[in-house]
Subunit: 355 residues, 2 copies
């Protein structure tokens, strides 16, 4: 079968031929339908993130997949059932985090991530997985099933943000998303349609006309151009907000978030920047944290429950949004197009089998 | 009646004569028994924090009080009942934060604080208060009733810290308290006796023999001398901990806390430093937040529920601890001794009437 793999440092993925995998006991064989491409893939391709599986010389990419069960192999799944795989797996047997269904909270060394760290991904015509990591999705949603993983990331992030404010009566009315990539836009839509916030803002650094700004406008959200209004000035120019969702990976945003928050607000951080030293007014920021009961929460990965919520969320998203968000789905013969970036690209996927 | 007041910038409190207050409808008249002294009082005395009541030229100090109801004035309280007053009051009539019992979450302008910001404190022979802000305390605990307010601060801080970890299965085993003042020591005791953590650490910068280090030892906790082991090295020298409680007001500690935390840990900030710019490795700290699901939560003040929990906590503290912690209770004739600081001072109070 064909797979899309990357050699660390090679800078671009290639098509490779691999044997079709055989499911082990407890595993199902899945025929891959579509796999999304995101910023993490680009970091893995550039050699800035991720790790090869033991003994491998290249990594099969892909962690945002949807497929159809080809062989249930004695598991409770059914042939023909559509599924979305979760990403983390236990590295050796199992451990307490996986046993309690919280692999997303596992520390370093207690997990591998398919397509990212230490395990091959889903960008192949077939993949196998323990049935417990395959989340059923209605067939009608399968064409967009590659959006479930990124939405699940925000399901977790928002769950942790809201939990951090659960010791008091908190009714958020406003949110700011830092980053107008596909994850930022999906989250903006979630703030509008799931949390039903009154006012939302999305920060980017692009000029109109731009497909991501069009989506921001259409959602009824306010586009904030970071070149005109830096994060630290948003509270003055617009308003201090109840939630900040950081999806830029730009480290200064993590700390500027404290000023962008209204009293009792929470910032949730998702970016993974490189080391970078800079100066902050730490005394003032520390005081802001305390006197206004603010919180910052880091969030990575997601668990099966978040995938299940994400499927519900996906079902509730307006059709125009997913139509506009997915700017390209490319067959294997033109897989390279799915990895191209540019002003007209929002979200892409590779199609391994037609739906 | 006599009161202890401070003129902003005068640098030390003085005894003043004031008329005994008359309770308004809904208020009770309380005879003050004891009022504790803490770091906030010293900041108010130094002119670094706080604000005068409208039209006043000096501020009556004191926010950690215990008293006895002299005149219930038609409220549900009883004459002779021992009470601890909460600190925040609505500035004009009331507002939503007070109505829902969460004055601690009120933003600037929506509260005054007795003895600190915009309202006279409790360091007077009598004070009045709306009955709803007077929390009954058993008579046997009244001699230590001035510890209820500081304990309530930590009740809230710990509640918010735990809430921030409530979206997953979190069983903290270790905690680090930054600061070996009376609030730090009380919190250390709470971590030992209330949360029943296995391992606790307390950071200070004092040499043995020292009464606060004796208390740390006696609690079974580990003293960390910040001159030998800075906060950023604690995870290597000792261990990364599940909870960090910051009570130093030293701004670098807020950010070094991120490194002192174990994966999935939470740091709760209570200090109120002045503006101070310094360099941090913001990229690495941002990454730490995200990849290890860490959280930082600021916490200020406390509400009536926290005072009620604090009374339970106070009841459970060992006698040796409160004996060692309270290094001086001084009558009005020697009130100045209660404001002296030094290596042999941990916690002091002024006694306005014998118990």
């Amino acid at each position: 079968m064909q797979a899309i793999a990357v050699e660390p440092g090679a800078g671009e993925p290639t098509l490779v031929e691999k044997p079709r995998p055989e499911p082990a006991p407890g595993e199902a064989l899945v025929r891959t339908l579509r796999v999304g491409v995101d910023g993490t893939d680009h970091e893995v391709i550039a050699g800035n993130h991720g790790d090869l599986p033991a003994g491998a010389d290249r990594l099969v990419l892909g962690h945002e997949a949807v497929g159809v069960v080809e062989d249930p192999n004695g598991t409770a799944l059914e042939e023909g059932q559509h599924v979305v795989p979760t990403v983390r797996r236990p590295p050796n047997g199992t451990n307490e985090y996986f046993e309690r269904g919280e692999p997303d909270m596992a520390p370093d060394g207690e997990y591998v991530e398919r397509g990212i760290v230490g395990a091959h991904g889903f960008m192949a015509e077939y993949f196998t997985s323990p049935a417990e990591y395959l989340v059923p999705i209605p067939e009608r949603l399968a064409p967009l099933g590659f959006l479930v993983e990124p939405i699940s990331i925000s399901e977790k992030a928002i769950e942790h943000a809201v939990a951090s404010r659960s010791a008091f009566d908190w009714e958020p009315e406003s949110a700011l998303v830092l980053g107008n990539g596909s994850l930022g836009l999906l989250t903006l839509a979630m703030f509008e349609s799931v949390l039903e916030l009154d006012r939302t803002y999305c920060l980017g650094r692009r000029d109109r006309p731009d497909p991501s700004i069009d989506i921001i406008d259409e959602l009824g959200s306010t586009y904030v151009d970071s070149r005109e209004t830096p994060v630290s000035e948003i509270s003055e120019v617009h308003e201090a907000v109840d939630i900040v969702y950081e999806a830029t990976g730009y480290a200064k945003h993590a700390f500027e978030t404290i000023d962008a928050l209204a009293p009792n607000g929470v910032g949730v951080l998702l970016g993974v920047p490189e080391p970078w030293s800079f100066e902050i007014d730490g005394g003032r920021l520390h005081q802001e944290f305390v006197l206004h009961n603010k919180a910052l929460v880091g969030s990575v990965n997601s668990h099966r429950g978040h995938f299940e919520s994400a499927i519900d969320t996906l079902e509730g998203l307006p059709t125009w949004l997913t139509d506009d968000l997915v700017t390209g789905v490319y067959g294997l013969e033109e897989y390279q197009s799915a990895f191209e970036t540019g002003d007209d690209v929002v979200k892409t996927a590779v199609e391994f089998a037609s739906i």
